[in-house]
Symmetry: C2
């Protein structure tokens, strides 16, 4: 059987381009024992993928050159040699970017499409949802009345962090770019204030103005100068779940910035870098809580769905120029 | 009754000098109810005092200009209107730099000079000891076999952190300046390795060489370029108790350095700023454990004792030029 896959053509220096990727036709071998033949339905594109394109030490093994990009994929079972999966089942896995995929049964999880649409398992009930949930709840430990600032607030994780913080009774300030995102966060997602970093010439003043009681939790999805400005407003015993540094992924040299340790020291601040995998043993707890909030309407969820397997590279690149609202997904 | 006190003459810009201080003769009023007249015995000088000389937001209220410097003092009761204290008792308090002091009874704690010498309550059983104990044990959470790096290793806190980490079964690497401190840490205090930052031209290479298995805990007493070099060697799930930033106390502008968030993020690192006061409710636990380690010889303790009340400013300034070995104390 033939398939089309997308491989890493070359490790990018700085910002990746369409040249970073190559589409190939391949022929799949016969199914072995305990294997499953899958047809890809939904493909997740995420900022962390940029990190895996580099050979540098990071939280996950880098992608190999000339080998397919891997990511979260929701797929339908076409054929199975495992008693655990039958034709028509819908599954989730960390799989290669290919139109048709042979996977080991042990690497797949069946998902319940009655509980939520299949694509939700790549978002609110998947990596971004669990990242927002555990980062905010376990590291941030929000208390009612506290001020929570979220950078990258209109992104897949940020939009959930803000809503979960509201559920916890916090005042929520988002940082996002452009009037469209700003209005969406204020009017559709219940944020108390939004700082539009593209519309301000003095970011520090704008953030100070939006946080008259200081900042108790700063959920950092972006890093760089936006974080420099928020860090000045931290309260004593503030917490910083460190989730993303998208502004730095494409830098080839170590960036300079103001030293933050004096701020963290004098205010007894906690900063914790994390990836969702650190919470693997507690995923079920998160999925159950998130699904309940979605069901009861407390948590709204948005996806940007791009149509066409061949759009995967462009969709991924779009993340770095801020094209997406909510979770970015490619539908095959 | 007359006394001599040392006041803050002017807020220093950058490094304080002897001009920052002024000695004054004062006349003490009569004792009121529930007050105690004290003769100062031992005066603590500590790096945090530099922070209180500035008017900036920090973890403690700033010293006031023309008012006495305050700090940890061990004193002897001369006269008391409180039933809790009698002539001859030895007490500990956060008190003004004065040869004779009137204090409120509620602000004093009796200390047991049979358990340890009186001056120890300003060091190993006081602020530096409890800082080392809670910073390492509660934030660092050392496990046997891990590598612990301590900057400012020959200072009051660092020398204890290294020894406590050894008691926990860790490999301990100190960072200190000069052959004298280096030899002392290696030969007298059981450090496994010491990087003499004054003797190396490539700090990153020297630290990498001393930590072949990476760094699991970095107890940071100094900040600046030394920390930049250690942070490159952090292992996944490393912890950084952020205790001091002495290299920055005397900077008048925000210092620039490499952004550390990408390192903390990709390695799931915890960084926690703290002051010992955060653990006030658990001091007893720390004192009991530290006293036992001292008693059984597992923990060695050194003091630098300077003689003469009038030497207080010079002793404090000496901290910033690395003159001290272990805890710096002035004996009246």
């Amino acid at each position: 059987m033939n398939a089309r896959q997308i491989v890493l053509a070359a490790r990018p220096k700085g910002m990746p381009t369409v040249e970073t990727f190559r589409t190939e036709e391949i022929t799949l071998p016969d199914l072995q024992n305990e294997e499953v033949l899958l047809k890809g339905l939904y493909y997740s594109v995420d900022p962390y993928m940029r990190g895996r394109m580099s050979a540098a030490k990071s939280y996950a093994a880098p992608y190999e050159v000339d080998q397919p990009i891997h990511g979260g994929i929701v797929a339908e079972v076409v054929q199975s040699t495992s008693p655990e999966f039958a034709k028509g089942d819908v599954v989730l896995g960390y799989l290669p970017w290919s139109t048709t995929i042979i996977a080991k049964a042990k690497d797949l999880k069946k998902i319940d499409t009655n509980l939520a649409p299949a694509s939700y398992y790549l978002g609110i009930l998947g990596m971004p949802g669990l990242t927002a949930f555990f980062g905010l709840m376990d590291i941030g430990k929000p208390k009612a009345g506290e001020t929570v600032v979220v950078s990258g607030a209109a992104g897949a994780v940020g939009i959930l962090v803000g809503q979960i913080a509201k559920i916890q009774g916090c005042r929520v300030v988002g940082i996002a770019g452009g009037p469209e995102k700003t209005n969406m966060l204020l009017n559709e997602f219940g944020f108390d204030a939004v700082v539009d970093y593209k519309a301000t010439t003095d970011l520090s003043a704008a953030i100070a103005h939006a946080t008259p009681n200081g900042v108790d939790i700063y959920f950092d999805n972006v890093g760089g100068e936006i974080s420099d400005a928020v860090i000045q407003q931290l309260n004593f015993h503030a917490r910083i779940p460190l989730c993303g540094q998208i502004a730095l992924y494409n830098n080839t040299e170590v960036a300079l910035g103001p030293r933050i340790q004096p701020f963290l020291l004098t205010r007894s601040v906690l900063m914790q870098g994390f990836i969702v995998g650190n919470y693997a043993s507690r995923f079920k707890e998160g999925i159950v809580q998130l699904a309940e909030w979605v069901k009861t309407g407390k948590l709204k969820y948005t996806e940007t769905i791009v149509e066409g397997f061949d759009q995967l590279p462009a969709a991924l690149l779009g993340l770095f120029s801020g094209n997406n609202t909510g979770k970015m997904i490619v539908k095959a």
